[in-house]
Amino acid sequence: AYNCNKLNCSSKNTKCRTFSCTSVVGCYYTDKCTSPDLCHNSACNASTGNCTLTTISCNDNNPCTDDFCHPGYGCYSVPNSCDPGVICQQNCNDNDPCTYDFCDALNICRHSETYCNDGDACTLNTCGVNGCNFTKISCDDNDPCTADYCSTLYGCYHEPIECSIKVPCNIDSDCNRNNGCETFTCNLSTNTCDYYAKNCGGWPCINNQCTTGSISN
């Protein structure tokens, strides 16, 4: 901690600067002339203490940038038509809708494959002459014993339904078709199997297991 009495900061006062003291930082000063924003400088006349405000120059001496000043952000520049990055970008279009054209950090024009993805697992994502194409997929598995659905998260899934072709049985295990997405019982009055979709709490059952539905970034 600083001893302000000992430091006697105010003895350093000038017409342009007022010195104060705290035990944390010791002497510190406040300028009499301060600029109202980041686009102006304020100068103080040491003999009179008068303030003069001048507009700062944002010229960065780079002919390939246009220079501006924002009162809150200060000087900034925007690349113009002779900037290598802008020139690269202007000449980087390969007219192929299936490539993403970009200029890299070395201002070299490059073309990466367009990543066509609409985030919908129920569409087939392709790229052609008109760019990305998203076509609805068919989930029909031609199995009369399943109801076919599509989840935008997971794609096609097929819920078992009571089937018109009856499976004969004497006990429950006779009905096991090794399908983790269905439950079954042997109906002892008809000696045929009854099948039910597994209860996944509203989420689809895919590949023998319930999906959790938790989406993760």
Binding site: V25, Y73, Y76, F102, G119, S216
Partner: protein, 403 residues
């Protein structure tokens, strides 16, 4: 006095004794003696905990210039780092005389010591920290003349390169932080985040510069700065200019993610950073093949560390992975690393020299039969399948790790 903290229980959940359940790396003298690099976990978990999301700082031993690898949480991690007891014995940071509060020091560290951000993908838990600190993440022209002068960090670099405050113009690359990534990532950040709607477009006011990197192309850091070779020769052997980086595309469910492979131009040592990647749930993607493409570029005896995610425990079904990894996936990748990397003669048969830094562990929010944290579960599962002796590290926010 109701303002003394006594109204709260001390949760104490991620520190002693919980942290004794796994190895979190080390900055101890014996561990740092043979190390070349130091990494600082700024955020270690995946999702949910907005104060601790994926981000690491990386520097070379002896330097105090840092690059950030992903930027989910920045402020909270740096704040914790600056209050770390042995902080300045490692990095020799000089603050302005007035910077006495933790937030003043956090801000200064960001301004003067973090040079670049490598962003692996544009999900919020990997960029949110960058967006939020951006108004303070800037070395204003008037700082260059701060008295007494500060000669380390970016300000030290400016002086070392022979620049004066008057050379500090609006287009000075050293004044701007750089945001690097694959074009799809950069496009998403510029279009969807710094767009004057979600957040002010600070890059357009000279605060940041975007650098798109092409997959599979190696970029020396010296060429990412617009100064001639003569100027850069003064720092060519210093971090980060002594490093080359090569990005690779990865699968992260329906999004392109990135691995950045860093190679030391002097020693040839390598560090592989993986942003989120893994088993897809909603789209088909050769996620393993894309990781093997990175392995094929690694000289196994030069590899120092791998940062890779392990979001979920082993019992998570593929349908709930959404482009992430489990311990069993990660250890299969380690087996393949020995097979697919550039081998020595005679070939190396283990990975004992490699540190495996586990990122993006999802907090335990569901029932666990033992009441364990996911960190503990995943550490156990990784250890049980660790056939190659890789050094598994579950990082702690703000605790440096020598690598």
């Amino acid at each position: 006095n109701s303002n003394d903290g006594s109204n709260f229980y001390n949760l104490n959940d991620y520190y002693t004794p919980e942290n004794w359940n796994y190895y979190s790396g080390s900055f101890a003298t014996k561990d740092c003696r043979d190390a070349s690099y130091i990494t600082i976990p700024l955020g270690t978990t995946g999702g949910l905990d907005e104060g601790n999301l994926s981000s690491f700082l990386l520097t070379k031993k002896g330097s105090n210039l840092f690059i950030a690898l992903d930027a989910g949480t920045v402020w909270q991690g740096v704040r914790r780092l600056t209050t770390f007891k042995y902080f300045n014995t490692l990095f020799n940071i000089t603050y302005p005389s007035w910077a006495v509060l933790p937030e003043q020091r956090t801000s200064w560290f960001l301004k003067n010591h973090v040079m670049s951000y490598f962003i692996g993908h544009s999900h919020l838990d990997h960029v949110g920290g960058l967006i939020l600190v951006s108004p303070e993440d800037y070395l204003a022209k008037n700082w260059i003349d701060v008295q007494p002068p500060i000669n380390n960090g970016i300000m030290g670099l400016i002086r070392k390169l022979g620049f004066k405050p008057t050379d500090f113009t609006s287009s000075s690359i050293l004044q701007k932080k750089t945001i690097m990534g694959l074009p799809s990532t950069i496009n998403s950040i510029s279009t969807n985040l710094f767009n004057n709607q979600v957040w002010p477009n600070l890059p357009s006011f000279g605060r940041y510069q975007y650098f798109s990197l092409a997959s599979g192309i190696e970029y020396p850091f010296t060429e990412l700065v617009p100064y001639n070779a003569t100027t850069m020769s003064l720092v060519a052997n210093e971090f980060p200019f002594s490093v080359k980086v090569k990005p690779f595309e990865l699968c992260h469910d329906n999004l392109i993610s990135t691995s950045f492979l860093f190679t030391d131009s002097i020693s040839g040592e390598q560090i592989a950073f993986f942003s989120d990647t893994g088993v897809p749930s909603s789209v088909a993607c050769d996620w393993e093949g894309k990781i093997y493409a990175v392995w094929k570029q690694i000289k196994i005896d030069k590899l120092k560390a791998i940062y890779i995610e392990t979001s979920f425990p082993n019992n998570t079904p593929d349908s709930a992975m959404f482009g992430h990894l489990r311990p069993r996936d990660v250890m299969k990748l380690m087996d393949q690393l020995l097979v697919q990397s550039i081998q020595t003669s005679p070939p190396m048969t283990n990975l004992k020299h490699v540190k495996l830094i586990i990122e993006h562990i999802k907090p335990q929010v569901a029932e666990d039969p033992n009441g364990w944290t996911t960190q503990r579960v995943i550490y156990q599962q990784l250890k049980e399948a660790n056939n190659n002796g890789v050094r598994i590290i579950i990082p702690n926010q703000g605790d440096p790790i020598c690598i």
